[in-house]
Symmetry: C3
Subunit: 326 residues, 3 copies
């Protein structure tokens, strides 16, 4: 079964959101449109809508991430859902058979959605395959594989600033190899028709055969940034340093850091993005991160609206008949 | 003061739920009936009812149990109560006088219910004795003493599958000695008029004088399971192994594990229960746990409805006059 | 910019609540009046009002305090706000530039209020200076500097029992030097017109030039308690013992402990207060803490109403035009 099969129901509606890969353009566009309607809501002083009242969302985090959990919790509460946080930890007890037993137990509590974060690639997909029809799974990051809500909030941010994707040149800069965000962004950008997607980084931080994903590969930052409309900076996981993949933070910054000087290579109205939290002076110069072309904080704001859109799309249409009958 | 006295008010209504021991049959039956009405609610897509809107429930856990806390949190939220989780830990600071000071402080915050989990037998009872009339205490497990909501969800599960208790033969299998669940089940089964209650286990894992609780004692599993309608498997606490009470998990499974072969000794329509989480290949064979006669996941589902029933019964009638006056 | 400037808007309304210092008497009195209206609410069985429905409050605790967090969480929920708890810990990662990045991120999630607890004096003030106009900051204790909601619940408790502040003699007893509560109380008592404010303690536990705060200084407890209307006992931080500031708990109790004998020095209708948790036999004798003149548990109850007042005052008037337009 492909990811596409499991993510969509018979009528092509979103059942789970595990990856941006393989999803049709119309569905991604509808997600952006739905997020757009919620952006109006969260700018009001009363930021809640009753769309998911009486629904229960469980944040099932096998890997700690206060930041990501907070955004999902906020999104769910703004939809009036009840939210439970379960921090599982990646202990031996939740592997293999025990993980399935744990899922069956949580499922028996008749919740509506699990937001899953896991250090292993494919974990959210595995869970989606093993739960019943009543439960929606949203991937909040699984290993190196995917982080689709982050990618879609990036798409939303690009569309808010640039309107159409077709004419855009987008450069993704940094550690593509270990980045679940980059994979999800590349699939989404291609599905949404972006004119040109570039990846820019050292050979050691690019996946083998990355060009097969539909991207132009640049090792030289000067060439990579020339005339782009959007610069997406990736976060450098500092633990990579120890793996001899990178000589030092200083050298990385010298070779790939986004400085004001390099920003000038892009189009004058280019925007600069970063999934956060930023390492100032490593991936990006403070003057750029805090400058007029940075949309990094807009990304955070947009993340709430996009997660509201994902959650409501995954649950819409479910249980309606029972509800009418009840 | 007996447990019965403290659990009921002048009109015989439930004030606290500390133990199934000594409670009248009608009250336990009313609890099952109330749970039944909530089962309809939680099968809808909008699973909340406004019964406890504006009420505050504090999950006061002196012993960590994500699983139990989650079910109480879900039950409270489905009744529209506000829930606060306080994980106290069993530190020296919450013993003796300090515990009382802590209780008085929480009580002064004018909450409506404490759901208490504690490693010491009698802790919930102690707390119920020391709080004022406005506060209801629900025992979510105290040492080896009682786990009454687990027992009542088991009763509810039995009634859903078997209707009347009178004709039933029920076998409780395993470590009765250390099980708070078993004690609560035995009292409830007897109060509800179960035809025959058997306990099945090795001498080292049965309490002295267990027959005085109104049960038939079996050491041999073949005899113990013959012609029963309900098999309740207890969880084997693995730490017991070290106490020389049990030779090994393998030997326990050989002597008392519920296998398909042994299940065949029971009536053909017998159901198999377990409070979870199960140790596959220790207390129970996977083919039985996942088989057609297993109702283990139904127990989990029923746990929410039963806890909703307990919470609403403990609070009904309280504060009504103030509310009307306000 | 002074604390007063940053705490009030152009029309003199409360924007942040960081300290009692410099706030006008009318505003403090309005806070007490507002709390008084909420006291009626929380004595009902339905304890919630919809004042902050759709608003989001983040409890941002850089220093753990279950007790304080619980009271703010309860207060926010009784105002129908959504509450998120973020326990930051005082790690290196949240200092300096990183703290600002974290704040900007949380701010971008469009919440309405941060309740901040921090081990460093001035932290809440620093945060208030660095967030935008849409966000209110409430200080839940910062180092030795201030704990203004605790001080205001003390003022509320005094007014409930004594009505007018003018004729009162108030003695604050104990470790004034390290107490954020004492500083906030002294400013509030003086602003509210208390007749005489005394501080009573050993030289080693009084700040230099404490008399400049507008208090009478007593080292002798017998003189210090004579004819007072209110005795405020401070909590003795046991870690101070190691600093050689205090010889021993026993000696402290002998010199400054509030015993029944010493209580008799005060007016016959004097009340005894303590911010909790109390150290019995160190700052206070059990017979006094539990006696008829103690209002220690009333303080806890009043804390909810006062925090509701602070939260609603900080948010009232904000975003109203957007809300109407929406």
């Amino acid at each position: 079964m492909t990811a596409r099969d499991i993510q969509l129901d018979d009528q092509g509606r979103l059942r789970h959101f595990l990856t941006t890969e393989g999803l049709p353009r119309e569905l991604l566009e509808r997600m952006l449109d739905t997020a757009s309607s919620f952006t109006g809501v969260i700018e009001k002083s009363i930021k809640t809508v009753p769309l998911l009242r009486g629904r229960t969302v469980i944040n099932l985090f096998f890997e700690a991430s206060t930041r990501t959990r907070t955004t999902f919790e906020l999104a769910a509460k703004r939809l009036s859902a009840d939210v439970l946080n379960i921090d599982v930890g990646t202990s031996a007890t939740v592997k293999g058979e025990s993980l399935l037993d744990m899922l069956r137990n949580l499922e028996a509590m008749q919740c509506d959605m699990f937001v899953v974060r896991h250090a292993d690639s494919g974990a959210a997909h595995f869970i989606a395959e093993h739960v019943g029809n009543d439960l929606a799974i949203v991937n909040a990051g699984d290993g190196r594989h995917a982080h689709p809500t982050q990618a879609m909030l990036d798409m939303y941010t690009i569309r808010r600033h640039k309107r159409a994707f077709e004419p855009l040149r987008v450069a993704i800069v940094g550690d593509i190899l270990h980045s679940r965000v980059a994979r999800s962004q590349i699939h989404a950008l291609n599905a949404l028709g972006a004119g040109e997607v570039r990846v820019v980084g050292p050979r050691t931080l690019l996946p083998r055969h990355v060009d097969r994903l539909g991207v132009q590969v640049y090792h030289d930052i000067t060439a990579g940034l020339r005339d782009v409309d959007v610069i997406i900076t990736l976060r450098l996981q500092r633990e990579r340093m120890q793996g001899a993949l990178l000589p030092s933070e200083q050298e990385y910054y010298q070779l790939y850091g986004i400085t004001q000087e390099r920003l000038a290579l892009a189009k004058p109205d280019a925007i600069v993005m970063h999934p956060g939290p930023i390492n100032r002076g490593v991936e990006i110069e403070s003057a750029v991160a805090d400058g007029p072309q940075s949309v990094i904080l807009n990304q955070v704001t947009n993340g709430i609206a996009v997660r509201m859109a994902v959650m409501s799309m995954c649950l819409e249409g479910r249980g309606a008949s029972v509800q009418e009958g009840g």
